[in-house]
């Protein structure tokens, strides 16, 4: 192990001095390795991007013409003598952990991840390493997710009840990831599935690289009795907006890990909350970290203070990576906090993506 650590934390993001590249940097850099296409990880303005094909396709759609090199899962890429590879993070389709190896030392940057399968994203794979940089958005023991199939069964039951009563069902879910995993678990025999423009744009990009998603309709093409039985997937910001008002009588729901907490659920003011997250819960985080075999762990995004202390209690050498967001966002999560989901100005259809795709 040399004097300089393999990865360092700078005001531009996580930096690898030996390979001279950044991972998910938030200021423009020459070479960026991107874990996934959410807007807090994939920023515009970098000279060159490295990403998985799934991430690259959504990034191109979001950021326009950029220089992207692709690497599949497990495929080793050498950057200035440093070996870099992507490994499934289970967060959203195409999302990856980044493994960095140099001189026999291995570091892994988790990006956002979850350990339980969601029926669509490539399932999380633990990677052995010496040091692990882990997100901890839901790093408190009050967060404990039920299996995906159980929550999806509940969503389908809710939808069927609404359809029987002639009410449109509207679910607020992030345009990238959450919307598609919900979509993948829906029972199309209940009624038509309508996707908001921002959701459908991601659907098209993902179908284009081979993800199998059930067919979706456009709102404009769904009318009368069909609409009354329909389930509409829209970014959280669009639910309750003028866009949603043309749907007539409806039942609204949010799909988010934050829905586990009653106070947050009530604050959002939406009737039904489905607890469904693309981040690992407390047990998931603890298990994933143990599986890496790392003795050094750095935590970022979320309840970093208590989670770091918890890791130290468990015998790890643990530190906190301050992110650009840590100083300015709600404690309940620099990432996908409830404020981004519902309390900001409600975007209208054409530009709904800006805040909504962020997670």
């Amino acid at each position: 192990m040399g004097q300089t650590p393999l990865l360092t934390f700078t005001d531009r993001g996580i930096h690898c001095p030996a390979g001279d590249f950044y991972i998910d940097p938030w200021r423009p850099v020459a070479r960026a390795v991107i874990t996934h296409a959410h807007s807090d990880h994939a920023r515009p303005g970098h000279g060159a991007y490295l990403a998985t094909p799934g991430t690259a396709t959504v990034m191109r759609h979001r950021l326009g013409p950029i220089r992207v090199d692709c690497a599949g899962y497990g495929e080793a890429v050498t950057i200035n003598g440093v070996t870099v590879s992507f490994h499934p993070a289970g967060h959203v389709p195409g999302s990856a952990q980044v493994r960095v190896e140099h001189g026999g030392e291995v570091w892994v940057v988790s990006g956002d991840y979850k350990t339980a399968p969601d029926g669509l994203s490539e399932p999380f794979e633990p990677i052995r390493c010496h040091a692990f940089i882990s997100e901890c958005t839901f790093g408190l023991p009050v967060f404990r997710w039920e299996p995906n199939t159980l929550v999806m069964a509940r969503i389908n039951r809710w939808w069927a009840e609404n359809a029987a009563a002639g009410r449109v069902s509207v679910i607020g879910a992030y345009a990238l990831g959450k919307a598609q995993r919900v979509l993948a678990g829906l029972d199309p025999s209940i009624g038509p599935i309508v996707a908001h423009g921002a959701v459908e744009a991601v659907n098209v990009a993902l179908r284009g690289v081979g993800y199998a998603l059930p067919p979706t309709a456009r709102l404009a093409d769904t009318t009368g009795a069909d609409l009354r039985r329909a389930l509409v997937l829209a970014p959280p910001g669009a639910v309750g907006s003028t866009w949603a008002r043309r749907l007539g009588e409806m039942a609204e729901a949010s799909a988010s890990g934050w829905m586990a907490i009653r106070g947050i659920r009530r604050r959002r003011g939406l009737g039904t909350g489905f607890v469904i997250s693309d981040h690992a819960d407390f047990v998931g985080l603890t298990d994933a970290i143990r599986a890496t075999g790392a003795d050094r762990v750095f935590v970022t995004h979320g309840y970093t203070g208590p989670f770091r202390r918890w890791l130290e209690d468990q015998g790890y050498q643990a530190g906190v990576v301050e992110t650009e967001f840590a100083g300015e966002e709600a404690d309940v999560g620099a990432d996908q906090g409830p404020d981004q989901a519902g309390d900001h100005a409600l975007p209208t259809e054409p530009d709904a993506e800006g805040g909504a795709i962020r997670e």
Binding site: L140, I261, R262, R267
Partner: protein
């Protein structure tokens, strides 16, 4: 518990009154009688004796969840509700047992109160281990008490009236007073009692007047009274029954032995609404603090009785000669009240709250300015033709309070809110200047918009000097204007003063910490010595 959990899920998941009403009505039609009685009791704020302390609950929950205490406390700070935190951190149920009914659960909890700690712990852990999270949450709420399920009492009363086919006002009256779900049947609870016993009437409540008073129309249609700052209460004197009730439906007869002679002095079948005040020899009542010293005590020592003698200032007469006269117009009830009090023997500690001359809105506004000198908070405006209505109904009775006092102060500590605002710093401690020091003197946690709280939250995180658990000490820089209703000397506070109802009026972005108020300027607002 399963049925209760289902009811709660509906109540909690909607803001629509109609949906809550129909869920409650359906519950009152279908649930077993004993469970209905308990539901009514809980939703009308009757809390059973606590069988387990909250300290025991958190310790046992942390242990059952395999968590260190500090992590449990961090979690609690984020969730903001102990019952919910426990429900969330416990592992999923290991086995399922048949769900016990509400009454059965309440009975076993009440039995626990007499058991040794190990037995109580074993029983609670066993219950947690077999309940799904939603039932666990309700179970914990039943233990910690104060559980209203987001339902106003009026709504519960309407649902019960609808389910039992009775008049809602009659049901509201019958649910008043002292009863316990274990010692009564639903039929007895809802039956009209002969003579009424000591049961009070639901209080008629006034709304705050926001518009200009001339919007109320012709002054001749209105009556004005002082708005006193005491304890709103009812005196019930019926054959064989005498009771003093607080607005919170608490029986406070024993706290005010001065009123005992009224049991014989008042004509049988009399119910009065009024204000209990501490009132010595002076022309104005003593500050609320004098009365407050009497509330917390079971029995009142002679010294306190002498220092803060209680007097009842009657506002209204709801029952006369055993007849419910709430439908009679206010002006007429008031005439009868005056006649009744005038006929009482001398020396009884009761008077009619005087009417304030009301010839025009402008002159009345000037009169209102003098309220503080009279020891009042402002004026009450009542429509002469109004009935004594149930609960809060806008239109007939208005409180027209004085503008509050204000002070500019600097924020020195911030704490995250609870529940709905768990993500924001909403609870602040403020300081004023005392010489060269900043002296903490008030806490306030309301008055900003959500957007302002979000902005302050960002500021707090960037300007934290120290953290103590959920509390952050911040750079003394943000100035706020606080409003408060009253100020008293308080040896218990470091500042030597205590404010009544402090809240944030506005964020003074235009002011710096150099411009905040001083302890001296605040002390100048204290009531003059002679009155205390």
């Amino acid at each position: 518990m399963k049925r209760l959990a289902a009811l709660f899920a509906v109540l909690d998941g909607t803001t629509k009154t109609s949906a809550k009403l129909s869920a409650l009505t359906a519950h009152f039609r279908a649930a077993p009688e004993a469970d209905i009685l308990w539901t009514v009791a809980l939703l009308s704020g009757r809390r059973p004796r606590r069988a387990v302390t909250t300290t025991e609950l958190r310790t046992w929950a942390a242990e059952a969840a395999g968590l260190p205490d500090w992590l449990f406390e961090e979690s609690y700070a984020v969730v903001g509700d102990l019952a919910e935190t426990i429900a969330l951190v416990l592992p999923p149920p290991s086995a399922t047992a048949a769900s016990a009914g509400l009454a059965e659960t309440m009975a076993s909890l009440s039995d626990l109160a007499h058991q040794p700690p190990e037995a109580r712990k074993a029983a609670i852990l066993a219950a947690w281990a077999t309940m799904p999270a939603d039932e666990r949450f309700l179970f914990n709420k039943l233990i910690t008490g104060g559980f209203r399920m987001g339902v106003a009492q009026g709504l519960m009363t309407r649902a019960l009236a609808e389910a039992t086919g009775q008049d809602a006002a009659a049901v509201a009256h019958r649910l008043m007073g002292d009863w316990t779900p274990v010692a009564i049947t639903l039929a007895d609870l809802l039956a009209p009692t002969a003579g009424g016993g000591s049961r009070p009437y639901p209080f008629a409540l006034a709304s705050g007047l926001e518009a200009a008073p001339d919007s109320l129309g012709d002054p001749a249609d209105w009556r004005a009274e002082w708005k006193w700052d005491g304890i709103r209460g009812q005196i019930v004197a019926r054959p064989g029954a005498f009771a003093v009730w607080s607005r919170g439906e608490e029986l406070i007869t024993d706290r005010f032995p001065e009123f005992a002679p009224l049991a014989r002095a008042l004509p049988p079948g009399t119910v009065l609404d009024g204000e209990i005040l501490a009132w010595g020899e002076g022309a104005a009542p003593l500050p609320f603090a004098a009365l407050q010293r009497r509330i917390g005590r079971k029995s009142v020592p002679r010294k306190v009785l002498a220092e803060a003698p209680a007097r009842f200032l009657a506002y209204d007469l709801m029952e006369a000669d055993g007849r419910d006269i709430r439908a009679v117009p206010f002006a007429e009830r008031r005439d009868r009240l005056e006649a009744l009090v005038a006929g009482l023997p001398p020396g009884v500690p009761i008077a009619v709250s005087p009417l304030v001359a009301l010839t025009g809105w402008e002159t009345l506004a000037r009169t209102r300015e003098a309220a503080r000198d009279r020891g009042a908070e402002g004026l009450m405006l009542k429509r002469a033709a109004s009935p004594y209505f149930t609960g809060r109904r806008r239109g007939d009775w208005w409180k027209w309070k004085l503008d509050p006092y204000t002070v500019d102060a600097v924020m020195i500590y911030a704490q995250a809110g609870h529940g709905r605002r768990a993500a924001l710093y909403t609870d602040f401690t403020f300081a004023i200047r005392a010489g060269n020091d900043l002296l903490p003197f008030a806490k306030a946690y309301s008055g900003l918009t959500d957007a302002e709280f979000a902005e302050v939250t960002r500021w707090v995180k960037a300007h934290t000097l120290e953290r103590f658990g959920p509390v952050r000490r911040v750079v003394p820089e943000l100035v706020f204007e606080l409003a408060f209703e009253g100020i008293q000397e308080s040896p218990r506070h470091k500042s030597g003063i205590a404010l009544r109802f402090p809240r944030i009026l506005r964020w003074r972005r235009d002011k710096t910490v150099a411009e905040i108020d001083t302890l001296d300027s605040l002390r100048a607002l204290l009531p003059p010595r002679a009155e205390r």
